[in-house]
Symmetry: D2
Subunit: 341 residues, 4 copies
């Protein structure tokens, strides 16, 4: 059921044309003439009207605006699948009662460094190790990641430490190497609407951690998930990582409202990245607790053994000691909302 609102002065002929076009497409029209406007209710399975068709009605003479009632995402919607999706990765899972913590440095820097960090975070309860080998950096003069060498380091660390790996893909041409070395493929915020990349990861079986774009609405995040799922890969993990607003005191504005809204609209698990969401290490602890209290299904936390020498994002990384304290403090918060960590 969609709604077409006509202009105040819409002509009878314009109304007839709209009805004709609706009927040609197999819909019928429910017309309400108000004192100010005429409104057409479109009867039929309007979930089949895509954005283009909807816009084409919007461009017809006499039309003021279109209100869409049907959500544009289907496979990602809770209407489609009422039960929570739980995604298993090795012996752990995302979306269940236990809240997994994905920890590690922003970028893979060296085997020794990642091993050191991996051992520490594992000791304090992390269930995944993260680290970027392909790094999307806003400057071409910044460190761009170690590439395939970084992937191998991740893989060796995984073997030694025993934690599955989360790492980012930036280019569909890297899919082979990514599939070989990683357990969860991350799509970064800047690539949330890189539709070719979404389609590429959608055509494989690996779970995908999909980060919300800096200015993406919740609906657009779900449409990006739909892109992946429409190719056959249902293992999508949504990630709130802060949006861009006018506030400059923090790097981004972490939108925790998004957690319950996403859980209501979708069956997919929702993890939160407070490191990027706040952008300063001393805000990571309170925001991690807040995320868990709001119902997050997982956390993504940047940890580095020496933040002041990190090749990227040192300002927002926890030291292993701070991570240890955080993990300890998170336990009672998780318990308070009926979860474990």
């Amino acid at each position: 059921m969609d709604i077409i609102v006509l202009n105040r002065g819409a002509k009878a002929k314009e109304l007839r044309n709209i009805i004709k076009k609706l009927e040609k497409r197999g819909f019928s029209a429910n017309i309400s003439k108000g004192t100010e406007r005429t409104v057409i209710g479109v009867i039929g399975d309007t979930s089949k009207i895509n954005e283009d068709e909807s816009n084409s009605f919007g461009a017809m003479p006499g039309v003021e605006k279109i209100h869409r009632i049907t959500q544009p995402f289907k496979l990602a919607s809770r209407d489609f699948r009422p039960k929570n999706t739980v995604i298993r990765v090795g012996r752990t899972s995302i979306g269940g009662k236990k809240i997994p913590v994905i920890a590690g440095p922003c970028a893979v820097e060296s085997l020794k460094n990642l091993m050191d960090i991996g051992k520490e975070v594992r000791k304090y309860g992390a269930t995944f190790i993260r680290g970027g080998a392909f790094k999307p950096r806003s400057s071409p003069y910044s460190f761009q990641g170690l590439g395939e060498e970084g992937m191998k380091i991740l893989s060796e660390t995984k073997k030694a430490v025993g934690l599955p790996v989360v790492t980012e893909i930036m280019d569909p041409r890297d899919i082979g190497i990514i599939l070989k070395y990683t357990d969860i493929i991350q799509i970064g915020a800047r690539n949330m609407q890189n539709f070719r990349l979404l389609q590429e990861v959608g055509s494989h079986k690996k779970p995908v951690l999909l980060k919300r774009g800096l200015s993406a609405t919740i609906k657009e995040l779900l449409m990006a998930a739909e892109y992946i799922m429409s190719q056959g890969n249902n293992k999508v993990i949504l990630c709130e990582r802060g949006i861009r607003t006018f506030e400059t005191a923090t790097r981004n504005t972490l939108d925790l409202n998004a957690i319950p809204v996403l859980k209501k609209l979708s069956h997919l698990p929702v993890v939160v990245d407070p490191s990027h969401g706040a952008g300063k290490w001393d805000l990571v602890s309170p925001m991690s607790k807040a995320a868990v209290a709001a119902g997050a299904d997982g956390l993504l936390i940047e940890v580095h053994t020496n933040p002041a020498e990190a090749l990227s994002d040192g300002e927002q990384s926890l030291t292993p000691d701070n991570f240890k304290v955080l993990m300890k403090e998170l336990k009672p918060v998780a318990r308070a909302v009926g979860r474990t960590i």
Copy 2:
């Protein structure tokens, strides 16, 4: 210490004029000539340079921009008062270990209605009753509040129920009536930079609950607090209530990052209003828990015995039953972060 950055092509004469102006005002200049730009460090008590003076340097020929190092707020800053401010109201207080909950309807509608709500929220643990008698409404055709009659209803309810009262002031001409009937004066989001109103409430002794404006930065919120404090009233309670962003799935974007940032910059207590922050009743519970987990010193929650008949904001009001459940669920969250509720 402030920083003046010169244009790439700034002339020697322009530099001399800036130095002269600095010296006339009692400062000295520390000049660094880089390969690209010349930069002047201003030596002296630059906290005495107000915004105007700073701008006047910005308008001088040869100047590219001014970086201010000193925070513009003083009385509100933690530098000025390192210890947390605790504000006592009757037998309760805001800013201490126990987290007060301010509950009640958006608008005062009738004595019976407010009494009913007051009894319910008190039973489940609220420590303040709220309700608007003067209502800032975006439409002149909406209910504008009961005015003085509403104030009397608040006052009677307070006596009957035993909870101190929080209500909003909209107009400096109402200060007499507000002082007579209320325990905490609320400044609404739309009036956060109504400087005359801030000065008015600053010149009395009543505690002030100051809501963050829809597009106010954290720094501007603290400057608004400074306005009040500069008149002699130190009892300011800051309130995060959601900011305006591009996201339309929720009424506002609740900025919980603001809690730890405000606690770092200021000694003032910080309360959170998840009812306005999310705008939908079923989001109030997760966001209340998140706020407490992030370190909030209090909560402001809209409760109505019959949301579907409420004269305003029914969509975001809890029923007493929902409020009861929420209060129960908040207890372990508060305990998990070393607080009580």
Copy 3:
């Protein structure tokens, strides 16, 4: 005609309750059952449903959301008054073919200073002189304006120079003095939703220049105009002065889209303030031309004889020489869109 969208699982009883409530209020219901949702079209004069009533439907069990079709403003709408409103002030007018330019300093500083500026801007074609005597400043430690003394200076300058005066009101208690000395009353951006102030200026006959709030939507600006007009004062001039966005390269983001949108929705004249909209003097000239090309009915431009000594906003003020050049360059642009300046 409004639209009520029901939840996917809405019960028959919930639907009946909504219909009953509609009928009690004198409306009838047009029900469309789609494959996914049931939608109710509200038949009757829904322009009489105010925001509160609409929200109260939104709070009913079974309701997912309300789409409002009717614009909430009436007196300000072009539906209500199809012809452009032209506001006469002395021998000049706003809203006609000739584009008036309101020029002057941010703040009134001294009689000599304002006289100097007034003579210069008049010489180059300004039709109004502006200057603040009551200044809304984000810091309590900044210059707050000369108050009544400033008003007298404005008045003397007006007599000497022969230009009508535009100045800002901040407090309803100042209305007497403002009415005495000014020709157009300005409501500043921070007071756009100071509803008591709007009502105060609405109950007199003086034209009001209403600035858009930093985060106000176009619809909210028109609702603020409606507040003034609902008290009987139809002489409202809308002012676009930049909105707050994530962009930090400029002080604000001047929203020139707002000009044609406002002209379509409303009959009121629209002026533009490029000085605040851009925040840097060298952007004022291109943005003034752009505003005129987009259809602005007037310009508000800050001019100061010595920006580097201005008591406020020096960075965005033009010198008289720059103003002279701008006025000359604006003429062919105005002509190109069928106007004069």
Copy 4:
């Protein structure tokens, strides 16, 4: 010259460590001790400090914040190349006195359709034909473009009509086909920070039209240009196409402030896309005039022979008749600012 601001309570040892790290990297430190804070001016060629290194200082104990003075872009900056860049394409050029107009449908739909549109826009003065063969759509269920077939249609239309072609690349794997058929490669807003795609188009010689991301700052847009230029391709055309803000009355907020700011910071040409910037066909005309008046070096305008049947973006497309009127009305505006069209 960069600035490091220390915490209020920074220790002498922390200061020494920072100085040591600076000296190790070949810089010297200019220290200013203020009454409130110590500030370090970094002396040396700080343009060589990349974002990572800057952040690593930010993560050192004792550091409150880093102010960067040097702009992070070099090749794109006007400091690097003071003269305007003019990009020649066939017999026309972008960045000179004459303002080129790039016109055509959102998507290539059929040979006949593109031919029809091409002939019309050419007749009225367009200098380029545009049309998407690879379409980034927010829904996987929307029309995704004709792909290579669309490219061939563009190429045939080019031959028939005699206008060079602008079309979008979405995937680095399509570079071969894009290079074969197009004259200017468009990078869409959603791919502005698809760094691999930027590097790919940067390693060829074709001009690139780079659209600003929905939430990209002006500085980020210039950094994206820098990515392309750092690979050797200097032919970058910047495109303002509207940013995402809280305003919902228009599809985006066209940021015309960006034109003079970009022209000041960079030597690259700046074109404006009012069709996406406003999102509604009847706003395209006023915003096109405003863009030209503000100094735009080109316009991108969606034109379709039958907007109501367009496969995408019909709502914002002009008919050929409207385009004809617009081109006629733009001429005097261009002349008024010393340009031709």
